[in-house]
């Protein structure tokens, strides 16, 4: 797999990714309330572990915007920003999230992340983008703000802060934002974030040389204390952890879930692009190991990042080697760039975060999901509102609940149709195999009916009189506890029509699954009809549902001879009276 | 790259002799060149271990000094009976630890012991002092004497030592290994002592001992001797000497000013603090 061309492509992609990650790492660490060196640690070690242990070959891990916001809001009530206690809590969170993710992976529960609705994720990410933009406006202006407040208080703070704003900081930040936007528009292939940083820093240095550093008065990032192997460990000791455990334990779950939602989305997106088969449980395991191991090397929680994975793929990365190369590139870059990073103005970093936040609000995705279904609009609005006002953690829980409800709602809509008259004819069994029934699987219902009808007419069969008042109940989909109520509604309607005395043929050819509740519903109906002397017939595709029907007693009530099965092969011209 | 280098040499040099050398080099394969270079480095590296420690050119002086310190020499008595066999000092007779001290410091102290107090060859510095406006402390000196140090035993002993003796003894004692045994004191004494050692007495303008004598009292350079590992009685006795004016061989009258601001309790506290520290010197 690793031949020279692939290695070369990987090296190029890795170097590009390593250069790209540098401004984001610092910005996202500051967003999470941590000193910038922790962003760099998190861009190095978890990336290695996720690349080596994860299943996707193109997904790149590292600090994540939504997780950083979540960490900041979670730890804020328990420690002052960037203090040693804050850092310790972040590392402990990484450990806990890693444990949860590893457990999910080992229990092969990775598949549940396929069930999260796309709308919820898009709404979450849009909300995070808005939060980032509002929270960074203070840094952009060079004004100290209290961002932990609810957003309706943050906006007046921003407005009042405009009069106190440091004009130079706004100027430098605006230059950075403008250059980033222009680059993204005209030269989309270039890594626009790092070039915007360089432009911003050059501009600020020019301002300072012309006017004097302390006259310009830009807040700077400061010298980072980097160490080659920054060992750390999660701290669960009672005196340090007990008071914060109430907030941190649920937050660890949210972080684990949010990270895995994004990771699974990205892994699947990369799989579609590249054609690689993804083992979602392995991916979950890789993310868990990266967080778990990262907590021992001073890393805060991280997960796959969509823009880095996409750019990695587009730069030609084909194997996890590109992730490893990016790690090495970043390490080398830090060694040389650390003295320069010390002089990065904070408004440049805020501008970078504004660009990142604006990039999270993807208009095309939002439009697509809103136009798809009516209920998507409702879900989107709800989750967006709860993200901005309640915080990302509440929004994630809420989103999980909404996803489950939406999924159940969709799953519980079996198609139930009542057919009478001519449409019902093809379900009539005959003692002789005169009526030929098409046994092929036809996707469109009309086609089936038409062809059978034609055949009926060809053979010129007379319809027996006793089947005049017969109704066919066609059930497609799943009949389980969640969808039983629909069947109940339909049967009630039917009872109103024919008084409970007509014959009933249940066509379960496209019935995918039936559980005991559904079977009991049918049993109830069968009992009521057979009491009045009506007949009940049952058409099934195969013997898969026999166990359930047997145990519920349906077969006994209906009678074994009244159950018909379709044969699998297409050219059978007679129905089999098989039980 | 080696090939390119050799090519360059080939182009520049024109004589036959160089060409044959170059052609010989060119005929060597790349790997053998690398191997040759590596073996040269290996040889140099190994030679360092084969030869004895040639970096220590003080060894002969140290040996002579060891002889002198342990056994004495004729009239000169040995140092070890009072200063300890390992130079660790003796608390009962207030004799200082000499192990690990800076050799220049030992030499200067021996010279000061040997100096005749009445014939110090004082040097008057021609600085115009303006005495009109400012009150000064008495401690300042326009006259910078090299100073003398009074001790009944050491004054005679030091006079017997020649310059070479002083050098040898200094080298020997500076290379001795010393590991302090911390002694227990009650916490109030230690707290007060630590306060003096780390913060001094701000209201008196007394600086912290560690600000010149190094963190942990480990000493700094040849001028500021270590306080850690010195016997308690020695430190107290020396402060008393500064206060009594019997010792004035400090630079810039620094210690005299400082000693004049220490009470008896302070002396005990700070000496106890330094006696309580773990400290080692020259130990690998």
């Amino acid at each position: 797999m690793l031949d020279r061309e692939v290695i070369k492509a990987d090296i190029i992609a890795g170097v590009t990714a390593g250069v790209l990650i540098l401004p984001q790492a610092i910005a996202l660490a500051t967003l999470a309330g941590l000193p910038p060196e922790y962003g760099l640690y998190t861009s190095i070690f978890p990336v290695m572990f996720a690349a080596l242990f994860g299943s996707s070959w193109h997904a790149m891990s590292g600090p994540n915007t939504a997780l950083s916001i979540l960490i900041a809001f979670t730890i804020a009530p328990y420690a002052s920003i960037a203090s040693p206690e804050w850092i310790q809590y972040a590392i402990t969170l990484a450990f806990m999230a890693g444990v949860i993710q590893v457990t999910l992976g080992l229990l092969r529960l990775g598949v549940i992340f396929n069930y999260f609705s796309q709308t919820v994720t898009i709404a979450l990410v849009t909300g995070v983008g808005i939060i980032i933009i509002v929270s960074q406006l203070g840094n952009f202006m060079g004004v100290l703000m209290n961002i932990a407040e609810p957003i309706e208080n943050a906006i007046p703070q921003v407005i009042y802060g405009i009069s106190r704003a440091n004009g130079f900081a706004v100027f430098v930040g605006a230059v950075t934002v403008l250059s980033g936007l222009l680059l993204k528009h005209y030269y989309p292939k270039l890594p626009f974030l790092i070039i915007a940083v360089i432009v911003g820093m050059l501009f600020s240095t020019g301002l300072e040389l012309t006017l004097g550093t302390s006259n310009v008065g830009l807040d700077k990032l400061g010298t980072m204390s980097l160490s080659a192997l920054p060992l750390s460990s999660p701290d669960f000791s009672p005196e340090n952890f007990a008071e914060a455990s109430q907030g941190l334990l649920p937050a660890a779950f949210v972080i684990a879930f949010l990270g895995l939602i994004q990771a699974s989305l990205i892994a699947r997106a990369m799989a579609i692009k590249s054609g690689q088969c993804i083992d979602i449980n392995q991916e979950v395991l890789g993310q868990g190991i990266s967080n778990l191991a990262g907590s021992f090397i001073s890393c805060f929680p991280s997960c796959s990042s969509f823009n880095r994975s996409a750019s990695n793929f587009e730069s030609g990365g084909r194997t996890p080697l590109s992730a490893l190369i990016s790690v090495v590139t970043l390490a080398i870059l830090i060694v040389f760039a650390a003295p320069l990073i010390a002089h990065m103005p904070i408004s440049v970093m805020a501008a970078i975060l504004l660009l990142v936040g604006a990039g999270l609000i993807k208009k095309s995705d939002i439009k697509k999901t809103l136009l798809e279904k009516r209920e998507n609009q409702f879900i989107f609005a709800l989750i967006l509102f709860s993200t901005i006002y309640g915080g990302v953690d509440y929004a994630v829980f809420f989103g999980i609940a909404l996803s489950i409800i939406a999924y159940l709602k969709n799953a519980s809509k079996p198609e139930i149709e009542l057919l009478t008259g001519k449409d019902a004819q093809q379900y009539f069994p005959q003692s002789t195999s005169v009526l030929s029934v098409q046994n092929t699987l036809i996707k469109e219902g009309e086609e089936y009916y038409q062809s059978s009808e034609n055949q009926c007419n060809e053979l010129n069969v007379e319809i027996p009189k006793q089947f005049d008042h017969v109704t066919v109940l066609q059930i497609s989909g799943s009949l389980f506890f969640g969808s039983v109520f629909r069947l109940e509604d339909t049967l009630t309607d039917l009872r109103k029509q024919d008084g409970g005395k007509g014959d009933l043929i249940i066509s379960g050819e496209n019935l995918q699954s039936i559980d005991s509740t559904g079977a009991e519903m049918l049993v109830k109906e069968a009992q009521s009809r057979t009491k009045t002397g009506a007949r009940m017939l049952l058409w099934l595709r195969n013997h898969n549902h026999d166990a359930v029907l047997q145990s519920s007693g349906l077969i006994k009530i209906i009678g074994e001879k009244n159950i018909y099965y379709l044969k699998e092969n297409n050219n059978e011209n007679h129905q089999d009276h098989v039980v | 790259m080696g090939v390119v280098l050799i090519k360059g040499i080939d182009v520049e040099l024109g004589s036959n002799i160089q060409r044959s050398l170059v052609s010989r080099l060119k005929n060597m394969s790349g790997w053998s060149v690398v191997l040759a270079v590596l073996s040269v480095f290996l040889f140099i590296f190994l030679v360092q271990f084969a030869l004895p420690f040639s970096s220590d050119s003080q060894e002969p002086y140290r040996l002579v000094g060891e002889q002198l310190a342990l056994n004495g020499n004729g009239n000169i008595p040995a140092c070890a009976p009072c200063h300890g066999l390992q130079g660790q000092g003796n608390a009962e007779i207030a004799s200082p630890r000499l192990a690990g001290l800076h050799p220049d410091y030992i030499k200067k102290q021996l010279e000061d012991y040997a100096r005749d107090p009445l014939n110090t060859r004082a040097v008057v510095e021609p600085i115009a002092r303006d005495y009109v406006k400012t009150p000064r402390t008495y401690g300042d000196l326009t006259v910078f004497t090299p100073g003398t140090r009074y001790d009944p035993k050491m004054n005679e002993l030091a006079k017997m030592l020649s310059a070479e003796d002083r050098h040898n003894l200094a080298i020997y004692y500076s290379k001795l290994v010393f590991v302090a045994t911390p002694k227990a004191y009650d916490f109030e004494t230690l707290e007060r002592g630590e306060d003096l050692a780390l913060r001094g007495k701000p209201e008196y303008g007394l600086p912290a001992c560690d600000s010149c004598h190094g963190p942990g009292g480990q000493g700094f350079g040849a001028i500021f001797p270590p306080l850690a590992g010195q016997p308690v009685t020695y430190i107290i006795a020396q402060i008393n000497q500064w206060q009594a004016g019997k010792r004035d061989n400090d630079h810039l009258a620094l210690m005299r000013n400082i000693a004049d601001q220490l009470t008896d309790g302070d002396k005990v506290n700070v000496a106890a603090y330094y006696d309580n520290l773990s400290y080692s010197v020259n130990s690998e």
Partner: protein, 304 residues
């Protein structure tokens, strides 16, 4: 006319008599506690001129709390962190410090020494109007200025943990000090010149009194393990920059007069302090952040 002359003679002689009596009186009026042993016993070295003793009596200055009394809770942790930053700035505030100095290099003895810019005298005066910035500044903003100029570094943001720690330490050190009052021992003592300042005399003073600790080239001396300075650099790349308060000759002279040589405060005369201050002022140090590059290039020593 005669009476005026006689009045002058009488006054003059009376003045002399009073002075001589006063001189004797001074020697006898010293409190017995103030008499130090070396005054009483004869000294081996040449005798010095005994003049009026400038005694810093212990009852006069504010006494900050002891380090052993820092409480064991979160507040105490913050105080300890602030103290660590104060005495070991280039390690604990590495993010913002730009040179080899510590806060305690100038705010002597961990910010406790009277006449050594003590912190306890400063805390109660902030927020104050500062002529340098023409605004009312808070303590945090003042500390920011310290980082920019004296530490030649980057100013911490007002919400940085290092800033919080330093303010907490300052507050703890000032525990019990009155607010808004000019305490004795605040800042630096006064100096006044008697002659024009001469850097050549200052060089002699530096070589005889300062070089022993601060090094021949003014670059200070580093600890034996190479980390940090035991005697801070007075000029050169690792010292304070040209925007610092110590770059004013008068301020530097006041500092030297009241604190240097270490342990021998007030041992230099005013003129000596001023001379050595101008000698130090003339040396090279990092550029003033308030100056643009062009101004600094063409007018390197221009006052702010």
């Amino acid at each position: 006319m005669k009476w005026i002359f006689l009045k002058w003679v009488l006054f003059f002689s009376f003045y002399n008599v009073v002075l001589s009596v006063a001189a004797q009186e001074i020697g006898q009026s010293l409190d017995s506690l103030e008499v130090r042993p070396s005054l009483v016993n004869s000294r081996l070295s040449l005798p010095t001129q005994l003049t009026q003793v400038h005694v810093i009596s212990p009852g006069e200055y504010f006494a900050p709390p002891l380090v052993a009394d820092i409480s064991d809770d979160r507040f105490g942790d913050m105080v300890r962190m602030g103290r660590n930053i104060f005495i070991n700035t280039d390690v604990y505030a590495k993010r913002y410090a730009g040179n080899g100095l510590n806060c305690s290099s100038c705010h002597l003895q961990e910010g406790r020494k009277p006449h050594g810019i003590p912190l306890w005298a400063a805390y109660g005066r902030y927020p104050m109007y500062r002529h340098k910035t023409r605004t009312v500044v808070t303590l945090e903003e003042r500390i920011q200025d310290c980082f920019i100029y004296s530490m030649d570094g980057i100013a911490p943001t007002l919400d940085a943990p290092e800033m919080k720690a330093l303010v907490t330490y300052t507050k703890w050190l000032s525990k019990g000090s009155p607010v808004g009052v000019d305490l004795p021992g605040r800042g630096l003592p006064n100096v006044s010149r008697t002659q024009d300042l001469d850097p050549k005399r200052g060089k002699i003073v530096y070589e005889t009194r300062c070089e022993l600790c601060h090094g021949k080239d003014g670059k200070g001396q580093k600890h034996t393990n190479g980390e940090g300075y035991i005697f801070p650099p007075l000029w050169g790349g690792d010292s304070y920059n040209k925007g610092s308060g110590l770059q004013r000759v008068r301020t530097l002279a006041k500092f030297i007069k009241g604190n240097m040589p270490l342990g021998a405060s007030f041992s230099l005369t005013d003129q000596e302090s001023l001379d050595v201050a101008i000698y130090i002022w003339l040396q090279e140090r990092p550029r003033n952040p308030k100056m643009s590059w062009a101004m600094d290039f063409f007018f390197p020593n221009m006052a702010r």
